[in-house]
Every structure is written in C-alpha cells, then in structure tokens.
Symmetry: D2
Subunit: 367 residues, 4 copies
Amino acid sequence: MASNSFGEIFRYTTFGESHGPEIGCVIDGVPPGIKLTPEDIQHDLNKRKPGSSKFVTQRKEKDIVRISSGVFEGKTTGTPIALLIKNEDQKSKDYQDIKDIYRPSHADYTYQEKYGIRDYRGGGRSSARETAMRVAAGAVAKKVLSKIIGKKIEIIGSVIQLGMHKIDKKKWNKNNINKNHFFCGDKTSVPIWENYLTDIRKKGLSCGAIIEIIAKNVPIGLGDPIYQKLDANIASALMSINAVKGVEIGDGFSVVDFTGETNADEIRIDKNKNVKFLSNHAGGILGGISSGQDIISRFVVKPTSSILHARKTITKNKKETNIITKGRHDPCVGIRAVPVGEAMIAIVLADHALQHIAITRNLKNER
Amino acid sequence: MASNSFGEIFRYTTFGESHGPEIGCVIDGVPPGIKLTPEDIQHDLNKRKPGSSKFVTQRKEKDIVRISSGVFEGKTTGTPIALLIKNEDQKSKDYQDIKDIYRPSHADYTYQEKYGIRDYRGGGRSSARETAMRVAAGAVAKKVLSKIIGKKIEIIGSVIQLGMHKIDKKKWNKNNINKNHFFCGDKTSVPIWENYLTDIRKKGLSCGAIIEIIAKNVPIGLGDPIYQKLDANIASALMSINAVKGVEIGDGFSVVDFTGETNADEIRIDKNKNVKFLSNHAGGILGGISSGQDIISRFVVKPTSSILHARKTITKNKKETNIITKGRHDPCVGIRAVPVGEAMIAIVLADHALQHIAITRNLKNER
Amino acid sequence: MASNSFGEIFRYTTFGESHGPEIGCVIDGVPPGIKLTPEDIQHDLNKRKPGSSKFVTQRKEKDIVRISSGVFEGKTTGTPIALLIKNEDQKSKDYQDIKDIYRPSHADYTYQEKYGIRDYRGGGRSSARETAMRVAAGAVAKKVLSKIIGKKIEIIGSVIQLGMHKIDKKKWNKNNINKNHFFCGDKTSVPIWENYLTDIRKKGLSCGAIIEIIAKNVPIGLGDPIYQKLDANIASALMSINAVKGVEIGDGFSVVDFTGETNADEIRIDKNKNVKFLSNHAGGILGGISSGQDIISRFVVKPTSSILHARKTITKNKKETNIITKGRHDPCVGIRAVPVGEAMIAIVLADHALQHIAITRNLKNER
Amino acid sequence: MASNSFGEIFRYTTFGESHGPEIGCVIDGVPPGIKLTPEDIQHDLNKRKPGSSKFVTQRKEKDIVRISSGVFEGKTTGTPIALLIKNEDQKSKDYQDIKDIYRPSHADYTYQEKYGIRDYRGGGRSSARETAMRVAAGAVAKKVLSKIIGKKIEIIGSVIQLGMHKIDKKKWNKNNINKNHFFCGDKTSVPIWENYLTDIRKKGLSCGAIIEIIAKNVPIGLGDPIYQKLDANIASALMSINAVKGVEIGDGFSVVDFTGETNADEIRIDKNKNVKFLSNHAGGILGGISSGQDIISRFVVKPTSSILHARKTITKNKKETNIITKGRHDPCVGIRAVPVGEAMIAIVLADHALQHIAITRNLKNER
C-alpha cells in the first residue's frame, strides 16, 4: 500500500502524470535547519532534463522546480517539503493513435487490465517523467546527508555499458563523466558510443545500458537487518526505476564462480590505525549493513520500448494489429537513468542515516 | 524501521538467534477460514532443513514447527499466526574462538560497529537460520494464494548455475528438481555438480550459485506502481536473503545488448481468444504489474564465507590476525536458498494478491 | 514517522503552511473508475470555508480546489490524486508582532523548541488551515465509500454543546443542521447560541464546543483488532484535529457509573429476521469492529487561543511579556471543526472498508 | 493493516489467544546496549496479574515472562526482543455454553461476522489477556526511556473514579496508589470503593472506572505533527485497550465552557531562568508536541460485560435467547487497566523519543 511513497523516516510521495498540468512530490522527515534553495534541486534536475542532446528525447521541458512548502527564510522547518514542476511540452495528440492499442513491453496492457482505465497520454503515470521527482527528492536527500554526516558523501553514477559496448574499467575516471552526453567515465568509449547510438537512432531502434553507482564516504553502520538491509533497500529503490531489469551489489552475479577464499574481503589495520579492507567484492555491505567501504551498485536498463519498427500487438478490444511508436523518445533511456539512480541511492542512504541516529545516538558512549 | 517485518497486508515478523532457545515468526493479515496444519508448513521446511545430505551443513536440526496461535479447529481465524521452531543442535563452544575475531565477509564487523554488541554464537541474528522462518511464512503464503486465486499458482525454484557450471537450459525439466541434492532441473548437470562440490568441500572451500524462480499461473494485475512494483518488491525480498548479491527479472542483465525490437514481447490472440505473448523477455512484469505470463526471477548467492583456509582479518580490539572458520557449514549455501527464494516469491505474491483485491474488487463489473 | 500522512490503504498526505503559496494533499489508494469532479470536493470545502458568517474568521479564502492528477476523463485511475488550493488572503504583516513572542496555548513554543525554527506567519504548519485538505480528502473518501458499499453511508456531524450551552437532544433533527451558522441540530438552541457567541465575540473572547458525528449504514465488520481497531483509529483521527482535547465513542465517559447490566446492548431478531440491538451504548463498535449500528463519536474543541485579552507569556529569548493576539480568528473554532470531523470519520471508514475487502473477499462464500 | 503491531520505531507485535498455549510479543526497534532482565518486566506484569485480590478475576495465571531473543549477556543487542508467557489456567469447558451464543457488549458477534470463524474460548484474541503483552512491552519501553533521556520519566497511573465514586483530587497522593487493591491515590476513597465493589461483585454486577495517567519529566519536543501528534498517538494507544470508550488530554471535555482566557496556560520565567507554565489545562501537549509539562491523559473503561444477570441475545443461528455469563471475571476491569494504560503511555513516549532523536540530533547545535 502507499505505493507512491518511498522511505521510512526520509519519506517522499510523488504524483502526476506525463500529460497532466504538473508533477510533484511531498517529502516528509527532513530535519529542520537545513539550507535549501530551488537551485540546489535544479542542478540535479538539469542532469536528467530532456532535450539536452540528440541522444535523448526531444521533448522540451525546462523542468523548473518550485518549493511550495517546508522551507522558511531559506531553511527547512521540519514540515513537509512539497516540490512542483509544471508540464509544458505535452503533445497529447501524439498519443491519440495509441489510445486503444497496447504498445508491446510498455505498461499499457497491465495498467488497463489492473485498473480498467488508464491515462494513455504519454504513458500517464507509468511515464519516466515521474523520475524527475525522484531526482528532486534525491537532491534534498543529499542536503540531509551532508548535514548529518560530517564528511561529504559522494555519489557517482555512470554508464558502464551501452548496448554491447562496455567501458574499459581501467580507463574510468570520474572527472570524465560530465564531459560527454553519456555519463561515461571512460573517454575512449565516448566516440564508439556516439557512433553506435547515432546508428541506433537513425535506424529507429534503441539499446540498453548498465549503470554503476558508487557512494563514497558512507559511514559504517547504515542498514537494518533483516528486511530493511541496506542492499535490500537499494535493490528495491533501483528496481522501481522504469525499465530496470536487474540489480547487483559489489561483484554481483560474477561471484558465482568465486570461492569463499577468492571472495573474502580480507581486513588489515592501516598505518593510521584504521580498518582497511584489501578488496571490496561485497560492495561495501556486510549482513545488510554498510562497512565503511564504497557502496557499489549496478542496474541494467532495457532498451526503450518505443521504436519506429512495427511490432505485433493487440487493441483494447482484443484484435490483432501492428504498432509503430512515434513521438519523441530516448534511443537509450539508460543514459538519463544515471541521475535517477544517484538520487535513489542518496534517498536510501539519507533514510538509513536518520534511522541509525534514532537507534544508536545516546548509547554510543557506553559501548 | 520495523526491520524484522516484511509485507504490507500479508506481513510477517521474525525473531530469534542461531543459538537462542528458538526462532519464530508472527504472520499478520492472513484471511480467515483457510485450512492450515503444521504439516503444510513442515513440508517446505524439510526442503531447507540442514543435515539432509553431505552437500549441506551437518548441523542437526529437526526444524519441527509449532503453530502457537491464529488457528482454531484447523482453520485460520484472521488473528496473528505465530510459528515457533526450537533450536536443538547449538554448539556454542564452536564459536568461542570467533568471539573477538571478525570473520571476513561475515556480518561480525558491521553488527559490532553498528550495535556495539553482538551475539557471536553462530552469527546470532545474522545466521541463515532466520531463513527457516521465511520458509514457514512462505508455506502459509502459498495456502493464502491457493485460497484467493482460483487456479493454482506454481512456484518452481532451481539452481541453474553452481560455481562455474551452468545447466543446459534445454534439458531443464521441473520434474528433475527434487530428485537430486542440488535442486537441479537438468539431470545431466547433476554428476558434474556432485564431483565439483565434493572437490570444493574436501578442499575446505565453497562456491556460489544462481537460483531461478518461476511462478506460473499468476493472475494479471498484481503489483502497485510506483514504489511497490511487483519487481521492486521481488528485488527487495530476494536481496534480503543472506549472501545474495544480485537479482534479475526476466532476461535481466542480458537485455543490455538487445534492441527495442528484439526485446519486445509481441502480443497475439490465440485460438481460444486469449491474449498470448510471443516471448517473455520481461519476465512477466510490465510497469511493475504482472502480465499473466510466468514471473521469472533469478538471484546469485555468494560462496559461503566460512572456509577452512586462513584469511587475514582483525580482532575486536583492532589487532591483525588470521582466521580459519571451523564449525559446520554448507559448501554452497545457494542450494538451501532455493526453498527460501520460493518462499519469498510466494510471500510477495500473496501480499500483492490481497492488495489487489482491496483496490479492485467491487469495481470490476463496471469496467 | 511519515507524520503528515494518515490511513493505510486509503492514505493521504498533506502539505503547506498558512501563509505559503498553496496547501495540498496527495491521496493514494483510491480505487479506479470512480467519478470524481472538483464540485464533489468543493461542496464539502464550502462548509468549512472561512468568512461564511460573523461567527467564524473573517479571513477571505475562496478555497477553490484543483485536481492535479489521478483523474482522467472524469474518473479516478488508481494513481495518486493530488489536490491543490491556493492561499489568497494572507496578511503576513499581522504576524510580525508574534514573530518573537509565544502565544499561550498555541504551538509556537513547542514548534520552536522541537525544530529550532518555525514559520510563524499564521501559525505556519500548525494552522487550522491544514484541515481544509482533510475535508478535501474526506470528500474523496465519501465517493469511495458510496462506490464500494451498496447502501449509502451517511455521516452527520453537528455541534451539541457550545460553551456551556448544550442542545436538547430530544429536539435534535438532522434537517436543522445546515439551516444555521452553528451546525446545530436543535433549532431551539440556535438563538441562545447566537446571543452567547455574539457576546463572546464582542468581548474579544472565545469558547469551546462539543461535536458529535453519527455514521449511519456502516456495514458490519469494519475495524482490525488489536491496534487498528475502528475506535482506536477514530480516536487518533479526531484527536489529530487542531484544538481537540477529548474523544468519546458511544456513551463515552458516562459509562463509568453504568453496570454491566445497564450498559449491555441487548440483541433481538426483528420481524424481517435481521439482527436488532435494543440500545447503542457501545456506539456501534464491539471489540474494535463495527456492529452494523450507528457509529457514534464525539470530540471536544478547546476555546480558540487567540483572544483580544492580554495574557502572560515569554519571548523567544526567554523574556517575560504579555500578548494580545490580533488578526482574524474564529470565536469558536469548534464550529468549523464539524465538516473536518465528518471528513476524518469518512476517511477512517473508507480505509477500513478497503482493508476489510482485502482480507475477506473471496472467503465469504465459504462461511 | 499490520493490525497487531503498534509504534513506528519502537514497534511491537502481539500474538496469542486466551486459551492457546501461550501469548507473546516481538519488539523491534529497541536500541542496543540496554540492560534487560526478566525481572524488569515481571515487576510490571505482577501489577496486572489476575488473582491478586478478590476484586479481580480469580483466574490463576503466574504470568511468568521468558525472554526468547534479542538479549545477550544481559543486554539488548538491537535485534528483535521476543517475550513469551505460557497460559496455564485455561478452563475451556467454561466456554462451551457460549460457543454458539453471542454475549452482549462482547466482541463475539462482530468477530464472527467479520471473520466467519472465532476462537470462542475465553474470548480468544479479543480477551483482555492480550494486555499482558502490552505491559511487558511497556516495561521494555520504560528501560528505553530511562536510557535515552537523562532524567527519569515517571509514569503514574491511578483510578480516579470507580463507578459513581470519584476521588477527592485534593487528597490524591501518588504514594497511596500501591497501598490498596484499586490503584487509588486518595486513601479516603478506598473504604468507600471496597464497600461499593464488594456489593457490586456480590450482586453479580460490574462497574466502570476512569483512569488517569500522569507522565512526569517528559522532555520538550516529543510528538510529530500532523498525524503523529503525541496526543493523537496517546488517544489511539488508550482507545485500543479493551473496553475503553473515551480518552481525554489535560482538562479534556471540561474545556468546553472555558474561554480562551481561562483556558490559556500562561508562561513565565522562574528564578532559575527556566520556562514555567502557570497552569496545565493543555495536559502538557501543544500542537501535538510535548511542552515539558506533565503529560496528563485519562480514559474510561466500561463495566465488565460478563455478569451474572440474564441478558437478551441471539445465537449464531440467529435465534433469540438469554445469557448469563459465568466464568471468572473482574467486577471492574478498569482496575487492572491501570498498568496497561501506564504501559501504553511508556510505549508512545519511547517511540516518540526515538523519532525525535532521528530528526533533531545533529542539528541541535546549529540552532
């Protein structure tokens, strides 16, 4: 239930359809006294904004956020923060032809079957437009994190595979990520991806992507066994993003042919007398709790389902037909999923940081 | 918060440590009037029970479940169902030597850092022993499902990769699964896996596994966008199982190099005028809602961290040392994870079936 | 946590401050296919609207509601319904003089102490303005109720005591309620109350009120023991309304000097072979579950704390001072609490109706 | 949903029926490192225990609590604490004659109608026996409170009215409370109550009671507007206790004929420069947040419904009949409700204290 909300203490609720007047979210559980301006949020929204290059949808949305409540004289007050973004560039007529036809691999069929009614314009509620509010909530989560944790948590998302093209991990550098249209950390991959995606786009096709999110400087102790494990919450957070079909933590599926010996993250004490792990196969989470290492997660985004090639499908009245999905679409929705993934990780971490404080604060000295 | 509970309407809470007097769970939200006997639950528990072959831990636990409440004259009453299992074969002395040493890749370090105290005996709360209660709750979930859904939902789990050895998918047959010690659906893989795991065990090592769960006959419409999507809940459910590092739905990570064309599950009408998909790349979930196709999920279990080879680690007092983890361990915990995975899928489906009824029941006729 | 949300399946979240640009709410869990127009909601909002008579605050707010999402072509779609109301008649300057002074019996002091910051304009988040969104959500709840329950549930709120003046219960008639400024069901009390409240208002004073809410035609079986009992949820719902200090169910506090004999609601079978209770001391709830009788609840609203008489108080800097609270205030906030109380009862009933369906639907035939 | 659980961070779940093998609860969200022994809990359980005087039920239950999990070497570990109490003195045969007859003012009828099945023995789940687990959870909550709040919170419950007999408030002294069978703070009322209740009991009747709970030394700032206000949570907590029909905070219903002037709790600065209220009409809560004053709440318990006088009722098959409820019953269940009410207040306060820490901890210095 409460299926449009996410989080326990830091908890946000989104609303709005692709072609309604606006989209919005309400964030509950933000501590008071945190400086928050629209610009703090706009910065992240601009990373996700449509129309920013020829490799993403040409829908024109400024995605200007407005803070409606919860901030007074530039600071959070502990009351719910509502954020609103107007929808500006809806072209509802584009969708008249899909009113009664189910686009394969879209949510049209299941929404119609579940609810008996759907707002078909732009996918309605199932549109990736909803992810703008995740990015907005994530920007607030980052402010919360930097406030309640002394050292700055860094959350770095990048595409590590576009279609069949993997990056060369040795050449990955976080400084490259924002210098190309693909959030790609390996600059040698950029021209290859450009050619590849240009070709895909011209052909009216689409491709998938794998995104990796690294969170640095996460304190030890975040995560609540058994069912609110940090990794379980990350899995839920990332899998809830549109078009995601898989989630990994640390070495993920590749651990299957490791042994307990090769998979062990051995531990030493460094010269500053700090705990030091010799590897990070676990992705920074042990028993559902952060270990102080980098939190590493990955997710795969399927190729955009809207393509310019005819696919077999049926109408609402159960007649066979074909469909070509026109309109403005991302040839690879995985690219714009990068800031969304970063936001979801920020939200999970902020929520667990608050939960951790609740349980451990005053007892710390007694240990 | 409420980190030891899972589910919204069908909601269970587990308690108990590996070496405490018992483990248990309380299940809320079970509809009344469902026949339920201890045998219904015991059947599933026996699949997970330790000591059943040389390929799993030699800890001897009968795992006999007792129904303490919520059932009257053989039927559920709508009140909470408490299930209890005594711990019988604890050997706490086995663990004295790990009292002050953190086993690498275990939860020892993070529990100690988070809570400042831990029950180190057998891993305490972080022990996979907790999963017995998941299996017990899952057995109840299956009873709920068969009651509220006309046709029988079938949930079939099997190991599809053990260490580096994948099954031959063409030879997979569900009837093979319970005829070997590995829940393996491909009988040609069984002797290979036997040799492999015997070798691993003799060497005092361990290996990982990939488990696939197929749920058949799931009705259309289960799942609640946006944050309680069926796949997001499955991801959370499976990732919360001990030692799991990755989760996939449908074709999972392999969709990355598909195109929108090859990834589309085209739709037709069959001769009985039913909707028929021509493929199932999506794993039976579109927009977070079940499509009526098989729900297909997979998860990877890391190699057991307890091995007979020395690994570098530290003590509670931050001194460097080495550790060999003796005691009774599974050479591949992934095997016994099969009934646990099945149980989690049953629980997610039962919960969503109840949620779906809440939202749609009386409106159905009006569509 | 999630302290700005109420309900489990039918769950709404409010946001907005008295002097922000707007107030709003997001309602999750509304079944699809229900006809819903702004007029459905406006009707109830107009009952609560300020400025409607000389006996309520003179703040001028049209309180025009806008449906932002979740409704398509006039029907609910199962996605979250966002409702927005602009704030129009803020006079922030009225509040400059209370910026640094705590008004006694207001939330100024506790908000400042809890959060270290507060939006003092009009009481900010603690303003009764938030209750407009309760009324809006309640209007939607009523639509849900009439859809999922065959017979029409009637929810009738009225003031039964204004200051020291009680109504004559024998003269109470629901048809009188909307014919006076006090939601008074006893027309003989109306002139008495007019004189009394006019006097109170002229003196710059205020008074309290007791409101009774009767819900008719509620089906048997709503409510979930133990902690989501119908009466426990009603108590929480009503006590959460601004200025409420007490809640009763059925005969409430007066049962203290009953005996088990005089308090028993005896049961008979009427000539139509229906179950018939001979009295309703219990207020329609037994063991936390509705019995099919009228659900009767009452709550008391304290006198408005904002008065034109000087009261001793302190400043934010802990200096002693006096305060006279100017601005536009209701001489008896209890009057406008009537539609708010009705809304809260509608919300609790709608939520429990959905919960009840989830648990009992398909099992009904087997009983 | 989750109707057998209460609380957000400090969250407990109860299970068990009156005549099952045991009752129990699982408490989640208890901070680690708190000393906890069975004796800590037993002390409070003994206050509620049946059979302690002729004025309460003669059912003989030792109510010995066993800690099953969550405590290691005498301290809490942050994992769920399960508590179990065996049922010993069940006399199921007492209940054979009510198997098919609904006792008026009991939950028999509504449980049967809601669930289609009920464990009629001793009222099954609706028995006040469940409140033993509230008292047990409350004892743990008190330990949490004393740990996380420097100064000791004192929670004092007492009966202030028994049937028609009110105490003389001026003679109330907390030291009297545990010196009589009625938890009465006014020793001049004790002999009156003894005579009265002896008479009631001999007549096979029962009476109601009003209980007042005062919580002292509660820090400022507990409570979360809007829907998790401290008073709303208290109302829910108290109203969920069996047989409660009304709840008040502070001056409660009597504020109806106050004015804003007489109801104002004026504020001064005392000689130690602390904030001092000149009265406490509000009962220590303003805007849903604790003000630092005593938290004062009251609730009314209806007369025990089980009496030795025939009452008209019906059978399960809808035939008219009469019933005399034999068995062992409290002539005034309100008496044993005192420790239950204290426990619920402790639980609400502990939960809010943890929530408050989550939101405000690290920001405090910046204010």
